[in-house]
Amino acid sequence: MCSHSLEVGIVLCTTLLVAACEREMRNFDPVPEGAQVGGSSGAAMVSHYERNAHALATGKRLWTWYNCGGCHANGGGGASGPALMDAQWLYGWDAASIYQSIADGRANGMPAYRGRIPEDQLWQLAAYVRSLSGLAPQDGAPNRDDALLTRTPESFSDKQNPERAQPSAATGQR
């Protein structure tokens, strides 16, 4: 019994360490040219951003830097732009749809950021937006704000069942 417990302990510790590595890994290389959104490589890439604490923290920093909070409110509660922390999604809640909203904008008033910020940052922002409503894995999501706290932290977000909301057909309003 005792003779095995050491090996078991080593294996357990190594497993834990390895599991935590991805969450903490910082990748400073640019996104490879031609990386596709769809397909298995795309899904892996999206998962990489969402599971990575550094990517989510960077997304949170960019959220402030690029004035996202000015329209969507500091914690994603919405103002002139819709709330991003609730379960209602006008254009889809998967990372690819959110990426598209940020990159190409939307007709009802979302500006387009493609060409103004690099590819990598578009994905970081999309991953962070998902974390606002608990859709990103919570162990990597940001914790208590350094700034004025206006909502419970992203890592505390209740996981909701996202659903598609329709803009009003007659007038195109939200």
Binding site: T64, W65, Y66, N67, G69, G70, C71, A73, N74, G75, G76, G77, G78, A79, S80, G81, P82, A83, M85, D86, Q88, A107, N108, G109, M110, P111, R116, A147, L148, T150, R151, T152, A165, S168, A170, T171, G172, Q173, R174
Partner: protein, 592 residues
């Protein structure tokens, strides 16, 4: 001629004369109209109609309704000229002309400007429209995507259209035009996006731009010349619209003209306030930041400034000065003064001499922690140093909040009671500012705010009847929610206003006692009006349909779990969601 024929001719003559007389009388009966949102150039919102009065208002009942088909914040005033009522909705800014001669209010015509949907994203405070104006047989209306359109009032045909910026630059338009002396005066919105503010006069007949007065920049663009004579030394100087800003910051400096315009026909001066400087984070723009957060008096013919008073220099709290300027003559200790009453966002009720811009008094009408008073000798606002925001530091207990002691919602003046009826709020806030980059088309603010209820018994709103000569309130009525609707005063000694949870109320103008109320289907943020219908009866009309900066909480796409949502209102009135839903309806009331 036989006696019968002579009598017939006499009768015909009498009949024709009578007809002519009655037409003449009808044409002159302007007392019964409401041709612009503020009713008159002095912005009194006072209807000289007394059929509905304190004795009988308890029997007031709904006579007609009309659904606008739109469900965002309905902030406009229904406009009545003759036997037609004109209503403009929030985005998409549909204009309805309703026939008042039938209780069913059938549609005479409808105009759909189809504004660019992108403009919805740059409207800081919901996609509202403060109203249209009717003059000279024409309807003048602004659309959210920066168009001013003139329509033929009888059939709704478009006469001309004036366009300014693409909304993608961050600029929308929500204010109500003022039509005076052959000119249509319009102002832009978008201080929250770093848009540089202006007031433009368009030619009424053609829609061509006659003059444009910017709120920042060199004197020749702000239309400051030798006739500019501000009362206080602090507002004097050359090219102040550049010198009081760091390098080039005036170009993205805000000061938009999104509020009310008033006009004195004797002096030929138009009065209005400019919005706050951009960004909200004041550290990025050291200096007084002229000519933002102040009141201008300009010559209507040329646009040149006669005087300017900066109400909140180097504003740190988003205390824009765009609130209404009500022109009344007051009996003050020194004699009769041609005064201007201005309830400002910073919480003071200013009484100006409208000839010179002198501040005769500035008295708090709400709790104020951001300043300790106005020095009447120098005109300076004395800020409280412990409440000044500094980057990355949280400041708590800022009163009034950035929505102001009072926001856009206009007050009404009764020449009978000599009181100013102010619908407003009782809110404070916590705030943190931080650096912000100017990225065209995105908000240029650098501030996080979370509002909360102000001091008192938990009321978040109030209606104050203010005596500007005595410098204090005659009475106040507390309301649960901010009173975001306009006020209406009538000769029947009544004051009408609406609450955000849908109650349309009539109170006694002398005491504030509630005399009548009616529950509408959605919160009221519109401007109530009183008019005389074609049948000679007095009617009261108001638009219901909650929204606006405060009311957007009620919409599905705001999550009040974030206290900074809806521009900070979620922290204070998140429960509005439980008390009302969105809507959009015209209500007309009359005595039975």
């Amino acid at each position: 001629m036989t006696p019968t024929r002579f009598h017939l001719r006499c009768l015909k003559a009498v009949f024709l004369l009578g007809l002519a007389a009655s037409i003449g009388v009808c044409a002159a009966d302007r007392d019964g109209d409401w041709p612009m949102p503020a009713r008159d150039f002095a912005n009194t919102r006072y209807a000289p109609l007394a059929d509905i009065n304190t004795a009988n208002v308890g029997t007031l009942r709904q006579a007609s309704t009309f659904s606008t088909g739109v469900s965002r914040g309905h902030e406009a005033a229904p406009i009545v000229v003759g036997d037609t009522m004109y209503v403009v909705t929030p985005y998409p800014n549909i204009v309805y002309a309703l026939d008042l001669s039938k209780p069913a209010l059938p549609l005479r015509w409808k105009f759909e400007p189809k504004p660019d949907p992108f403009a919805q994203g740059v409207a800081c405070c919901d996609v509202v429209n403060l109203g249209l104006a009717v003059a000279d047989g024409k309807v003048f209306v602004n659309t959210l995507d920066n168009q001013t359109i003139a329509l033929n009032a009888s059939d709704g045909k478009e006469l001309w259209r004036f366009r300014s910026a693409d909304p993608r630059s961050g600029e929308p338009r929500t204010m109500a035009p003022l039509v005076v002396k052959g000119r249509v005066l319009i102002g832009n919105d978008g201080s929250a996006f770093g848009v540089r503010g202006w007031l433009i006069a368009l030619d009424l007949a053609s829609g061509k731009e006659l003059w444009r007065a910017y709120s920042t920049g060199p004197d020749r663009e702000v239309l400051i010349g030798p006739e500019y004579k501000p009362f206080y030394a602090k507002d004097r100087g050359t090219d102040l619209g550049v010198a009081t800003w760091p390098q080039g910051a005036w170009k993205i400096g805000g000061g938009t003209v999104s509020g009310w315009l008033s006009f004195d026909p004797d002096l030929g001066l138009v009065y209005y306030g400019t919005a706050n400087p951009a960004p909200w984070n004041a550290e990025q723009r050291p200096g007084d930041n002229k000519f933002t957060s102040g009141v201008f008096a300009r010559d209507i013919a040329t646009g040149r400034a006669r005087w300017f008073y900066q109400v909140s220099p180097h504003d740190r709290f988003h205390y824009e000065a765009t609130n209404e300027n009500i022109l009344v003559d007051l009996q003050l200790p020194g004699g009769t003064r041609r005064a201007l009453l201005h309830p400002d966002r910073n919480g003071y009720l200013y009484v100006f001499d409208r000839l010179t811009g002198e501040v005769l008094s500035a008295t708090p009408f709400v709790r104020i922690t951001t300043s300790t008073g106005v020095d009447l000798r120098t005109g300076e606002l004395r800020y409280a140093p412990e409440k000044l925001p500094r980057a990355n530091i949280v400041v708590r207990g800022i009163c009034p909040s950035s929505a102001g002691g009072k926001n856009w919602q206009p007050s009404a003046w009764s020449p009978a009671t000599r009181l100013l009826y102010i619908p407003h709020q009782n809110l404070c806030q916590d705030e943190e500012v931080m650096a912000t980059s100017f990225i065209a088309g995105t908000p240029y603010m650098g501030a996080i705010i979370k509002m909360k209820t102000g001091p008192g018994s938990g009321n978040r709103g109030r209606v104050t009847a203010w005596d500007p000569v005595a410098g204090r309130a005659a009475w106040t009525v507390d309301e649960d929610f901010p009173v975001w609707s306009g006020a209406l005063a009538t000769a029947g000694d009544l004051v009408f206003y609406g609450t955000m949870d849908g109650w349309f109320k009539a109170v006694d103008a002398k005491s504030g006692k509630l005399l009548w109320r009616f529950k509408t289907e959605s919160g009221i943020v519109g401007q109530p009006v009183a008019y005389r219908g074609p049948d000679g009866k007095e009617y009261i009309a108001v638009l219901s349909g909650v929204g606006g900066w405060a009311g957007s909480i009620a919409f599905d796409d705001i999550d009040a779990r974030d206290g900074s949502a809806a521009g900070g209102f979620a922290g204070a009135i998140g429960d509005l969601k439980l008390r009302t839903a969105k809507g959009g309806k015209l209500h007309v009331f009359a005595l039975p």
